[in-house]
Each structure stands twice: as C-alpha cells, then as structure tokens.
C-alpha cells in the first residue's frame, strides 16, 4: 500500500504546501472507501444471491431467476425494496439502543476489512498487529447484537442477544488459540507477514505444515462459523425457536444491515482462513516473473484472483454447511466449545510449539504426506458426491395439469 501511495503521490499533481502525510491519509481513506463501496458492499449483496441460488439448487428449487440474467440483480432489487420500506421502531423499544444496534454490527464487521490482504499491495492498512486487530474489532458485532436484542424489548430478541453474547465470547477462545498457532509459525501478527511466511504451493501452506495445523484449520473454521452466527451455530437468530431472535423487530434497511453483516462475514471467515492457512494471495514465482514481463499490474491481479478463488471455495463450503446441517442446541454449542474445541486448541498450540522445537526447519516428508492424504480424501469425496448425484437423478413426474 505504501509503495502504491508513493507512486500515486509522484503521479498526482498537488500543491507543495500540503504535507505528504496528509496525502497518505487521504489516499488511505479513499482506498478504504473504494474497497468498502466497490468490493465489500456489492460482494455481500452478490453472496446473498449466490447463497440463495446454491440453497435452491440443493433443495431442488429454482431460486431467484427473474431480475437480471439468472436473477443476478435480485440483490439490488431487494436492497432498493428494503430502503423504500417503512422504518419501524416499536413503541416499547429503547429507541437509542434499537437504532444504534445495526450500525455497531455493521461497523464492527466492516472495519475488520481494513486488514484483509487482497493481494500483496491491495490492503488498506497492513497493521503490525493485524490479526489481533481483527479479533478485537469483530467483537463490536457482539455488542451490536446484544444491544439490538435488549433494545427491541422483545423476549425472543433478548434470548437471541444473550445467546449471541455467550456464543461469541465462548468461541473467541478456540479461535484465538488457533490464531496463536499461526502466529507461532509465522512469527508475525501482520496479515501480510503471515502470508509472506507461506508459499504458493500447498505443501508450503501452514495448513500442511504439521499434523497439528491441519487440525487447527478445522478448529478455526468451526470457531469462525460460530462467531459469525452461521449455521449450524445460528443460535442467535434461530428462526424456528426464537423467530429470528435479535432481528425479530427490525424491518426494512435496518434488518438488511444484519444480513449484510452476515454475508460480508462469510467473506471475512473465508479470507481469514485463506490468509492463515491457505497461503493467501501467494502465486508461484515463475508465474509472477511471467506476469511481470507482460504488465506491471498483472501480478497484482493474479494475486487478487488467487486470493479470491481460495476464499470463494471456502464461501461455498460455508453456504453448503448451512443448508445441510440441522442447528445444534445452545447447551450442545457450549459443550462443543468448552469440552472439545478449547482443549483441542491448547493441544494444537502445545503440539505446534513442540514440533517447532524438534524440527526447526519443518519436516518436508510430513508436509508431502499431509498434502497427499488431503488430495486422496478430496478425490474420494468428489467421487462420492458424483456417485450420489448420479444415483439421485431419477425422473421426476411433476405435471400440474394432469
């Protein structure tokens, strides 16, 4: 980002009396706005469409397919509809908390994007405490949800808000432990630093560094799902038990804010997992040389695409899990966290520490074995999916005009 800003300052004509620091800040802010307005916000909208289409395909439904090609503009139509809707604040609700809740949720999620490294240069601010910052600011979401739940003056909302607080506080511990493992390995809290410590090929990723990191990946993924209130841990807005919990009383755009947060959150879950375990934006050096020869900006683009694709795969997994699994009960959720994930997290931290002590340069054999094992597992998995799809393809007799 700094190099980019340096270049821009040289290019942009500006009067001499403005100090360069101000310009840096200006460029930084402009870029942050650009990322939020042109990438995150539309992306969250598009994820809503993607989710509905994938869910529909899983359920043998059609899903939105009228507005735009294949219903692609449905999210825009829904957004416009929500803005036009009446903004209702229930009479008995706490007006300040009720109004403030969605904004906190929104802000808590979106300022986390400040440290998401979309490529080696495309990052709003590469903080040296990046991952720590991310964990800290996403906690604002809990405050927002709790505020909305309490402020709604609705018993279901209150239960939803309380569940959310309990859940997010609990799951921050396994998530923190999982992040600690990566901090051990990379020796850095900066998101770019963590990616730089990995390589482009799977056996250079932290995911396959040692058996403990493989476990840690799943640990982090589960904890992130729970922190993001995604199924099967969508306890705060369990629609069949709590009638959407904390968002019951919200209408129109305020309601959309919560879902906006959720969809942006899916990307955040995917992006963090990609950064920590899947090598982030790393592209092979040979490809980088080839791309640089063609155009100076092409490597950046390739990096962005790599990061995006890795995140997209994880986004699909998040959506897929949501539309497959039943919801766990609130006590089962806590049992899973405190009895299984937290001890497992400590085991992973200790294990990785021990591993680093015994094999300071890593064990290439183990890495290759892990990559091979994962490849075989994936191969078998896709074979099973293909087999099931074939077996399930029966002729459906659906004629409404018999």
């Amino acid at each position: 980002m700094q190099q980019l800003a340096d270049k821009l300052i040289q290019i942009i004509p500006h009067p001499g009396f403005i100090p360069d620091e101000y310009l840096y800040v200006g460029i930084q802010l402009a870029f942050a706005l650009l990322v939020l307005m042109l990438f995150v916000a539309p992306f969250a909208g598009i994820v809503s469409w993607v989710e509905r289409r994938i869910a529909a395909r899983m359920m043998d439904r059609v899903g939105p397919n009228r507005v735009g090609p294949q219903g692609f503009l449905q999210w825009l139509a829904d957004g416009i509809k929500s803005i036009l809707k009446e903004d209702i604040v229930p009479t008995a609700a706490d007006p300040i908390l009720f109004r403030l809740g969605p904004y906190l949720v929104f802000v808590g999620m979106f300022i986390a994007f400040v440290v998401v490294p979309f490529s080696s240069k495309l990052v709003i601010a590469d903080l040296n405490v990046g991952i720590f910052y991310l964990v800290a600011v996403t906690s604002l979401v809990t405050v927002g949800i709790l505020m909305s739940g309490w402020g709604s003056n609705n018993k279901y909302s209150l239960l939803g808000g309380m569940r959310s607080a309990a859940q997010i506080v609990a799951y921050e511990i396994p998530a923190g432990l999982a992040i600690l493992v990566i901090v051990f390995l990379s020796g850095s809290l900066s998101m770019q630093g963590i990616i730089a410590a990995q390589g482009a090929y799977p056996w250079q990723w932290f995911l396959f560094d040692n058996p403990f990191t493989l476990v840690t990946f799943f640990l982090l993924f589960i904890a992130a799902l729970a922190e993001g209130n995604r199924a099967p841990f969508d306890m705060p807005e369990a629609e069949s038990e709590l009638i959407s919990g904390y968002s019951t009383e919200y209408s129109g755009m305020r309601f959309v804010f919560f879902y906006f947060e959720e969809w942006a959150n899916i990307y955040l879950i995917a992006a963090v997992s990609t950064t920590l375990f899947l090598g982030g934006w790393q592209i092979p050096p040979a490809v980088r040389e080839w791309a640089t020869a063609i155009h100076a900006l092409l490597p950046d683009l390739l990096e962005f695409v790599t990061f995006f694709l890795k995140a997209a795969v994880l986004i699909f997994v998040v959506i897929w899990v949501r539309w497959t699994l039943p919801r766990v009960r609130v006590d089962q959720l806590m049992i899973l966290c405190w009895k299984y994930l937290v001890p497992l997290g400590f085991a992973c931290v200790l294990g990785t520490g021990l591993w680093m002590l015994l094999f300071p340069t890593g064990l290439p054999v183990v890495r290759y074995l892990l990559v091979g094992g994962a490849a075989v597992t994936f191969g078998y998995f896709f074979y099973r999916v293909w087999y099931q799809l074939k077996a399930a393809r029966v002729e459906i007799h659906l004629n409404p005009f018999v």
Partner: protein, 373 residues
C-alpha cells in the same frame, strides 16, 4: 446485600410462531433458556365441523371430513364413510375397499413426509423439508388424477369411492414407489444419520409407555414409546388383514425409549411399510366390482349409534355417529390424536429447553385442525 434471584419469563409461543404449524399456542414459562412449563392453549381453530354435520345430509357432510385433518383427508373420508355404512348396513365391493386402502396409504406416506420434513425444519435443517415436499408433490399429482384435489382430497363415498382409478394410474403409482423407496434412503443419509439431529432428538421429550397409555396417545406417538398397537393389525378393518406388513415401534436407538427420535423413526419406517402395502394392493386388487354400490340419494340410517376407529396417519381416528332415523346425523363426534398429544406437552416439557420444546412438538406431529375441529 440481597441475594441474586432469577425471574421467570412468560413467553407466548404461537399462534404466529413459525414452528407452531397451524394455529397452536403455548404459554411458556422460562428461566432463560430452560422452561419450567409449557401450557398448551387450544381453541384457535374451532370451526364447528361436528355441529355442521347436524345441519348437513349424510352425503353432504362428506367434503367437511377433509377439513378435520387436512394432511390425512383420505383417512378422515374413509372413517366417516365407514361409520355411515356400518350404521345403515351398506356393504361395499372389495375393489372399492382396495381403492380406499390405496388412497389411504398414499395419504399416509405424504403425511409422514411432511411430518419428518417439518421436524427437520424445526431443528434447523431446511433442505430435507423441501425434499419431502418434492416427493409429496409427486403423490399429489397422482391423487389429483385419482380424485381431482391436491390438498383436501375427497375420494371415499358412502358405499365405496367416487371414481375407479384412471387407466394407467396403477403403473404410475408403481413407478413412483420404485423411485420413492431409494429416496427414503437418501433422506436418511441427509437427515436421519446426521449426528446433530440424533443429539437434538435423542433423549428429548421422553414419553414412557405408561404415560403414553395414560395420556391416550395414539399412532406413531404411541408406537414411538414402544407399544405395538396398530388398529390395522389389532382391530382390523377394510381389507387390511389381507396384507403383510410390520408395525414399526420405537427402539430407543438414539438414547431413551420414547424420545423424539423414536417417534421420528417410527414415521420414517411406516413410510416403508406403506410402500409394501401399496405394492400388495396392486397385486391383489380384484378386477371387477363397482367402485360405488347403489346407495339411496337420501340415506336414512335406522335410529342408533355407532363408533368406528381407524388407523389414520396421526393414529386412532374415531368417529361417533348417532342417528335418530332422519336424513341428517343427530350427533357426530370425531376423536383425533392431536388433542391428546397436546395434553402431554405440559407434563413432558417441565425442565426442557426452549429449543427442545420445538423439537418435541414437531415430533408429536400435531395438526391444528385435528385438535379442535
């Protein structure tokens, strides 16, 4: 310093609550997530169907029977028709009885599909519900071909059934059965074998055999508690004795005997048994016989009373019919299982969690119009 104390919270679950399918209301007292009681409050859907019967002729009341239990209209049709036939001494043809059994067993399959699908939805799995509805649509197509309706089926008549089955219909049903049997397996892979579902349902809402009898539970809810009691076997009616099928009972495979999972599993297995019965029906159905025997335009049964019971999809469906010799019923009373299923909620729900109550209600498969007609 005063001691910390908790305050009980009064929650109204329903009638608008998404998991109180239909209009059911529970007054729930909770201390946070744990409930102290859930008291059912019935009477939201009362439509005086039984009173209407006193104003309608015996034939004319037939379409009202669909509304008693809109998910098992065929069974309700049949139960009423059976009561009128028994009271007035009308004999139907064997072919008509076969057609009635075919229609009722198809109805049982789709009712159970909705029950298990909705249970999945209530514990948070939306996809299996839609898969259940998809299969249900196929049967709805078949039933529409048979009798013309897609929800409040109206097929049985006093003295038989209204139409014979259309030509080629039997093949279509058999083709459906061929693809439906593997679909149940797929449904099981998707939902039943899921660890989360087993943990959500196992050991929850346990109804002991004694309680089930004491509270007069019927159908899958009773069988889920381990009691092998099925009117099709134990008090046979129609042509059911001619078929071979099993009566699935709860086995306590996910925890305790009589928990939500047992009731769920009974329904899953009953769908398989219905497929067996249907296959035998199409093998054995006599080729001749009127779909409906000649019955007078105005039935006037001799003065007297009758009580018939059939095994509907939600269990023992009773019809008590009193005649004073006129052309309208003097008194009609349906006895349905959902009301009793509601009554046990208060006892079982003590100390449950809110999320468990949803699963428990769903596992009882309550249909609101059946609670209060």
């Amino acid at each position: 310093m005063s001691e910390l104390h908790t305050q009980e919270m009064l929650l109204n679950m329903g009638p608008q609550h998404p998991s109180t399918h239909g209009v059911i209301r529970f007054v729930v007292k909770t201390d946070g997530e744990v409930m102290s009681t859930a008291i059912p409050d019935v009477g939201y859907l009362h439509r005086s169907i039984e009173k209407i019967a006193e104003k309608a002729t015996y034939h004319g009341f037939m379409p009202w029977t669909d509304r008693v239990d809109y998910l098992a209209a065929m069974n309700c049709n049949y139960t009423y028709a059976l009561a009128v036939e028994k009271l007035s001494g009308i004999e139907t043809s064997r072919r008509a009885e076969y057609l009635r059994v075919i229609s009722m067993e198809l109805n049982r399959i789709i009712s159970h599909l909705l029950a298990v699908g909705a249970l999945g939805m209530d514990v948070g799995a939306y996809t299996p519900f839609i898969h259940g509805l998809r299969e249900r649509e196929k049967v709805n197509d078949l039933i529409e071909e048979l009798c013309g309706q897609r929800l409040t089926y109206n097929y049985a008549r006093v003295g038989g059934v209204i139409y014979d089955m259309p030509s080629g219909w039997a093949e279509k049903v058999l083709a459906f059965l061929d693809q439906f049997a593997p679909m149940v397996d797929e449904f099981n892979r998707l939902l039943t074998d899921n660890k989360i579902l087993k943990n959500r349902l196992g050991g929850i809402g346990v109804i002991s055999k004694e309680d089930a009898i004491a509270y007069n539970l019927v159908g899958p809810n009773l069988r889920g508690s381990g009691l092998k009691w099925d009117l099709r076997k134990d008090l046979p009616y129609s042509v059911y004795p001619e078929f071979e099928f099993d009566v699935p009972v709860g086995t306590g495979e996910a925890g305790t005997l009589g928990d939500c999972f047992d009731r769920y599993m009974v329904r899953i297995r009953e769908m398989g048994e219905s497929v067996k019965i249907l296959r035998q029906c199409f093998e054995k159905i006599p080729s001749e016989g009127e779909p409906q025997v000649k019955v007078p335009k105005k039935i006037r049964p001799p003065a007297g009373e009758i009580y018939v019971r059939t095994e509907s999809t939600r269990g023992d469906l009773g019809c008590y019919l009193v005649s004073d010799g006129g052309d309208k019923p003097y008194r009609l009373k349906f006895r349905a299982g959902s009301f009793n299923a509601m009554s046990i909620v208060e006892k079982v729900s003590r100390g449950m969690m809110v999320a468990d109550l949803i699963a428990f209600i769903a596992s009882l498969d309550i249909v609101a119009p059946e609670i209060d007609r």
